[in-house]
């Protein structure tokens, strides 16, 4: 259905009929200021489609003008079946009719009264409120969910109807109430056990209780197992204690321990007595051995004294002989040493003399060398002075003539002059006399006083008169020519250059230049000579000469001494004298060493002789003292006696040792026997109270039925584990079910809203390129805008954004309706109130985009803002009275 025109009468401010016509298929705009009846038109349209003609309610009453009258609306519309005109009047003579044709050319009646109402409802494709709340926006109600409750419910029903027509009923898709109840049951059950996002056991819940119970039982079982283990240990220990105590406390065991102790005690006593006897015998043996060693020492000492006296007396003669020989050797060495010293003194004198003569000869030679040096320096000084004089003279001469540069200038000027003259000659007027053959000789013309030769050309450089003899005079004037002026200029320049050097011509200049060059060459040679003679200058040479010692007066340094041989010979003699001196020194030193050795030998042999004499005297004295008391025979007899006593004592010790019992073994056996007795007593003393303690502990533990409790606890623990496992499984089942249900419902919602989301997405992206909407299942409207991945609740958005989204959603719904064949116009009465200039342009784009498929009627008071909307601009026209039936 598409609107083409609407005429209203007796509706609010329109007492007289007013028509809004010319509506096209796409976008239509009515831009009028406030209070021009736009909203009245909107309400009239709504009433025409949704208020039965018999209605008298508030909505109809509100249409009535102050002046009274029956509100009536005529609408021309177009459907797939053709063009129709519907008419409705309320309150007074209510009427509803549908005719074929336009307002202007109304055709036959199609339906009237209730049939007309039905026809109108069908034309919108719905009987549940139609698109009013869905795609028509009343002024001031720009939000998506606005208007009265019936209007909201009607719009929701329309949305549900529309979306379900693309998919399925939302109930069917999302499971509806049964899904809600299944989820509620699941979550209710789950909540009993677990809580929070991680589904941890709920505190105080059955799952946590099962966990706690299992943990407590586990701890209890662990404790009881430990107690049982202790009981078993105690039982084992008691068994061992009883066995040990029985073995220790048995009478036969006690008797055996006592007998073993008595026997060990007796054996130990016997061994100790024997050991004492053996010790006594060993003492006696030691005394005998001591006496024997003493007797032997006395005897040996006597023997030693005798031997010493004999040895000392025998050594005396040899010592005397050696001392005498040493004295003689000492005297001989002393004599030899004196001779060597004399030879040395003589050699020293010879060397000193030879050396003095060589030094004198050397001094004489040096004097001769000094005189030669002086003469050479004087000669070089004189030659140098001469060379300097020559150099200065040459330098003075070299400054007088033209140098090379001046000479090159003179030569150039001479060449210029010659060139000027050649040019003048080349360009000169030539006069040639050619005599007539018949003319007699000697009668030729003359130039000045010079006769012209026949057939020889004469150059004329200036006014020239040729005497033609009889004929007269021929005056030739070549005129003013540059070549003639150049010659004098060149001559002047050449003459000036020559005059600077005082010469008359070029040849003289060349001679003078040659003299200069020669003088410069002489100066150079003189400088070279001077530098060779006095490289460091004449003054240095003079100073060197002055520094030489002056010759002694009256002496001739060059004259040799008459008694001195040549220096080389004197040098050889000095060398020989030095060799002799060194030989004499070596010999003298050797003699000195021999003298010292001889002196030492004499001293040593003298000392040895004295010692031998003293030793013999001491030995003789000692022997005399010893022999005065005891003889050697007595001493030998005492030794024999002591030897016999020692042998006897040794035999007794050996016998006692052989027959001695093992004292250590006897003592160890006694200690062990005592230890056995003591240990047994101590062990018995220890075991009896331990046994009592074990009895008490075992009795107490067994009385507490610890294993019975352990068995019970372990069974309870197994049951608790089973319970915990069952609950954990139950939780897993509930979580699994909950997740499956949640996922399925979310999936269903996404599928359910997929068509409208797909329709809306391009419109939405005109404003926000990546925006998406989430839909509420109850209202079937978007409740969340997601931009840049961030969700924003619709209620939290700005008024502008909300109205833009509302309009886009309505446009999407309108297009969906159109795709379903339920073409209905979108009517927007000031639907964009808060939208800014930038966004409104994009909203215009959205309107145009949808207007390709949907008829859109925009009613707005924003004349300037909507000037750029485009579309078909509509105007209200007053309709002549009486047009309406």
């Amino acid at each position: 259905m598409k609107l083409r025109a609407i005429t209203v009468e007796n509706i609010r401010r329109f007492s007289n009929p007013v028509t809004l016509g010319g509506m096209t298929d796409g976008l239509n705009v009515l831009r009028e200021p406030n209070e021009h009846g736009k909203s009245t038109l909107f309400d009239a349209l709504q009433a025409a489609f949704f208020e039965r003609h018999t209605a008298k309610g508030k909505a109809v009453q509100a249409l009535r003008p102050h002046a009274g009258g029956a509100p009536s609306v005529r609408i021309e519309l177009e459907t797939a079946e053709g063009t129709f005109t519907i008419f409705k009047r309320w309150l007074s003579k209510p009427q509803a009719s549908v005719h074929q044709g336009t307002m202007a050319a109304q055709g036959p009646l199609v339906a009237q009264a209730d049939a007309a109402e039905d026809w109108i409802a069908r034309s919108l494709g719905t009987d549940q409120g139609g698109p009013a709340g869905l795609i028509w926006v009343r002024q001031g109600l720009t939000a998506l969910e606005a208007g009265s409750k019936p209007e909201r419910e009607a719009a929701q029903a329309a949305r549900r109807d529309l979306i379900s027509s693309f998919t399925e009923q939302v109930e069917a898709m999302t499971g509806g109430r049964r899904m809600d109840q299944a989820l509620a049951r699941t979550q209710e059950e789950l909540a009993r056990f677990a809580t929070g996002r991680n589904r941890n056991p709920r505190k105080g819940g059955p799952w946590q209780e099962a966990i706690d119970q299992r943990a407590a039982l586990h701890a209890s079982a662990t404790d009881l197992r430990a107690t049982v283990a202790q009981l078993h240990d105690a039982l084992d220990r008691r068994t061992r204690v009883r066995r040990d105590l029985a073995e220790l406390d048995a009478p036969e065991a006690r008797t055996a321990r006592t007998a073993r102790l008595d026997s060990a005690t007796l054996a130990c006593q016997v061994a100790e007595t024997h050991a004492q006897d053996l010790a006594n015998e060993r003492s006696r043996l030691e005394a005998a051995e001591l006496a024997l060693r003493h007797a032997r020492a006395q005897r040996d000492a006597h023997h030693d004294l005798q031997a010493e006296a004999d040895t000392a007396n025998a050594a005396l003669p040899e010592a005397e002989t050696l001392a005498q020989s040493a004295r003689m050797a000492h005297a001989s060495a002393r004599t030899e040493g004196a001779g060597a010293q004399a030879t040395l003194d003589q050699a020293q004198t010879g060397f000193d003399q030879a050396n003095a003569r060589r030094e004198r000869a050397a001094m004489a030679q040096a004097a001769r060398h000094g005189a030669d040096r002086r003469a050479d320096l004087a000669r070089r000084l004189e030659a140098a002075n001469q060379a300097r004089t020559r150099m200065e003279n040459a330098r003075a001469q070299a400054a007088s003539g033209p140098d090379a540069k001046a000479m090159r200038e003179i030569d150039q000027l001479a060449q210029d002059l010659a060139q000027a003259r050649a040019l003048q000659a080349a360009h000169a007027v030539q006069i040639t006399w050619v005599p007539m053959p018949e003319r007699p000789d000697g009668g030729g013309p003359r130039i000045g006083d010079q006769a012209m030769s026949a057939d020889v050309p004469y150059a004329v450089s200036g006014r020239t008169d040729v005497d033609l003899g009889a004929i007269g005079r021929l005056s030739v004037s070549p005129g003013d020519r540059p070549a003639d002026r150049a010659v004098p200029q060149a001559q002047a320049a050449f003459a000036a250059a020559l005059s600077r050097w005082g010469v008359k011509d070029g040849e003289a200049a060349h001679r003078l230049h040659g003299a200069r060059v020669q003088a410069e060459r002489d100066e150079s040679e003189a400088r070279a000579v001077l530098e060779s003679l006095a490289p460091e200058g004449i003054e240095a040479l003079r100073a060197a000469l002055a520094a030489l010692p002056a010759p002694e007066d009256g002496t001739d340094p060059a004259a040799p001494e008459p008694d001195l041989p040549p220096l080389a010979e004197l040098e050889a003699r000095v060398t020989e004298a030095r060799a002799r001196l060194m030989e004499a020194q070596r010999h003298r030193d050797l003699c000195a060493e021999r003298l010292a050795e001889a002196r030492d030998d004499q001293t040593r042999h003298d000392s040895a002789l004295e010692a031998a004499r003293a030793r013999a005297a001491r030995a003789s004295a000692a022997l005399s003292r010893k022999s005065a008391h005891t003889s050697a025979a007595d001493l030998e007899a005492a030794v024999q006696t002591a030897q016999t006593a020692q042998t006897d004592a040794h035999a007794r010790v050996a016998e006692k040792t052989r027959t001695a019992p093992d004292l250590n073994a006897a003592r160890a056996a006694l200690a062990r026997a005592r230890a056995v007795v003591e240990t047994a007593s101590a062990e018995i003393a220890h075991l009896r109270p331990e046994l009592a303690a074990l009895d008490e502990r075992i009795g107490r533990a067994s009385g507490e039925a610890v294993e019975e409790r352990l068995a019970e606890t372990e069974e309870a623990l197994a049951r608790a584990r089973d319970k915990e496992d069952r609950i954990a499984h139950e939780v897993a089942v509930l979580i699994c079910l909950n997740d499956a249900l949640e996922d399925a419902r979310q999936h269903a919602r996404e599928e359910y809203f997929a068509p409208v989301a797909a329709e809306l997405r391009p419109l939405l992206h005109l404003l926000w390129p990546d925006a998406e909407l989430q839909w509420a299942q109850d209202t079937l409207l978007p409740d969340t805008l997601i931009r840049n991945g961030q969700p924003e609740q619709m209620a939290a958005l700005s008024g502008g954004t909300q109205e833009q989204l509302a309009l886009l959603v309505r446009l999407a719904f309108a297009r969906m309706l159109a795709r379903k064949g339920r073409i209905a116009p979108v009517i927007l009465d000031d639907a964009l109130v808060y939208t800014d200039d930038d966004r409104i342009e994009r909203m215009f784009d959205a309107l145009h985009r949808q207007a390709a498929d949907v008829q859109i009627l925009v009613l707005t008071c924003r004349q300037r803002a909507f000037r750029d909307l485009g579309g078909q601009v509509l105007h209200l026209h007053t309709t002549p009275h009486g047009d309406l039936p």
Binding site: A182, L235, D236, G699, A711, R719, L734, L737, A748
Partner: protein, 379 residues
């Protein structure tokens, strides 16, 4: 002239049954404990009824080595009630000599003359006139290695004696320590009868070798009440062994084979005998086979109907496979999110690349979803 005695074992007095779940107010564990204690009276009655004056307990009379003094005293008191009956108590692995030493000390020191603690492997004469000798093999350690009846071969008795062996242990070696009783020990040791304990079920190993089982059952394994054996020996003839029911509680496990779309309530009712419903019956139903979600729901409801009539009722379904029919999922929902969720859970269950536990969780979640949606429709 014949000689009669009662053979019993494994009384496990003092067992607390802490692993048994009990419904509120059922006092199941207390009743089970009391039943074990009161079996002493039933054994005495059985002995008297059989004309026996001796009751041989082949080990594990007590559940733990250290039963409470109260239990020991009351047990001994119960045994002492009839002085004409002699109780011969053999240490078993639960009340072995080493760990239960105080217990046996107590019994030896304080028990009435008709109660005999067999703590030594030495023969005892039961009847001088008939030359009947009891040859005990007490258990010294909880995990004793070797055949505990080997000593029987070496035990000396008078010429012509009728030898009765009394031992505790298995004829199969479950421990891997070689602790198995030779099944032919009766012949090796020239026994007229070998009374064995340890196995809680009744078993005849041979004509002269018998396990009597526990007189009061404690597990769902044997499907019958506990018994004692009245044994009559008459010369060289094989013993006459007669079972006497002594148990109060019947621990019964029944297998319920199911197929999909079977009437679950009917199947359950058919399996339960009319006289089953008794507070002394502990019943475990092991459902196996296959069932749809609907079947399982019905089965659980049927179990809930019958359970309160029993002392204990357990429906075990871990061996019951779930067959998912399209109809099952349709009952959850034909389409939409619920159906999608159900399909997701079914796919997770059928994904064999997942662990068994994950698949089990998914299967249970699907069954739960089915139950929730069924609850919703039945409200």
């Amino acid at each position: 002239m014949s000689f009669c005695f009662l053979h019993s074992s494994d009384l496990h007095l003092g067992r607390r049954y802490a692993n048994m779940a009990e419904a509120p107010d059922s006092n199941l564990r207390g009743r089970l404990i009391e039943a074990r204690y009161s079996v002493l009276g039933r054994l005495a009655a059985a002995a008297r009824a059989a004309g026996a004056r001796h009751i041989l307990l082949a080990g594990d009379t007590f559940d733990t080595p250290t039963p409470s003094p109260q239990l020991v005293r009351q047990t001994l008191a119960a045994m002492a009630e009839d002085p004409d009956l002699s109780w011969w108590i053999l240490p078993g692995n639960h009340d072995n000599l080493r760990e239960a030493e105080p217990l046996w000390d107590t019994i030896t020191r304080t028990a009435a003359p008709n109660i005999h603690a067999l703590t030594e492997p030495t023969p005892h004469c039961l009847d001088q006139d008939r030359n009947i000798w009891l040859l005990p093999c007490p258990v010294s350690w909880r995990a004793e290695a070797g055949d505990p009846t080997q000593a029987l071969d070496r035990m000396q008795t008078p010429e012509g004696a009728c030898r009765i062996g009394l031992a505790h242990g298995g004829i199969s070696d479950f421990t891997g320590q070689g602790a198995a009783i030779a099944p032919d020990r009766d012949r090796r040791a020239d026994l007229g009868y070998l009374a064995l304990g340890d196995w809680h079920g009744r078993m005849e190993v041979s004509a002269r070798v018998h396990y009597c089982g526990t007189p009061e059952q404690d597990r769902f394994k044997h499907n019958r009440r506990g018994v004692a054996l009245a044994v009559r020996l008459d010369g060289a003839a094989p013993p006459d062994v007669r079972e006497i029911e002594t148990g109060q509680f019947l621990w019964a496990e029944r297998v319920l084979d199911l197929t999909p779309h079977q009437d679950m309530a009917a199947a359950m009712a058919q399996m339960l005998a009319p006289d089953d419903a008794h507070r002394d019956i502990l019943l475990r139903i092991v459902a196996q086979g296959w069932a749809t979600l609907s079947d399982q729901h019905d089965l659980a409801q049927a179990a809930g109907t019958h359970a309160p009539a029993y002392g204990y009722f357990e429906l075990r379904t871990r061996d019951l496979g779930t067959q998912y029919d399209a109809g099952d999922l349709d009952e959850i929902d034909h389409a939409g999110a619920l159906r999608h969720a159900a399909q997701t859970l079914k796919s997770a269950f059928e994904d064999t690349s997942q662990s068994e536990s994950t698949r089990k969780v998914a299967a249970d979640a699907l069954a739960r979803l089915y139950a929730y949606t069924r609850e919703d429709t039945t409200r």
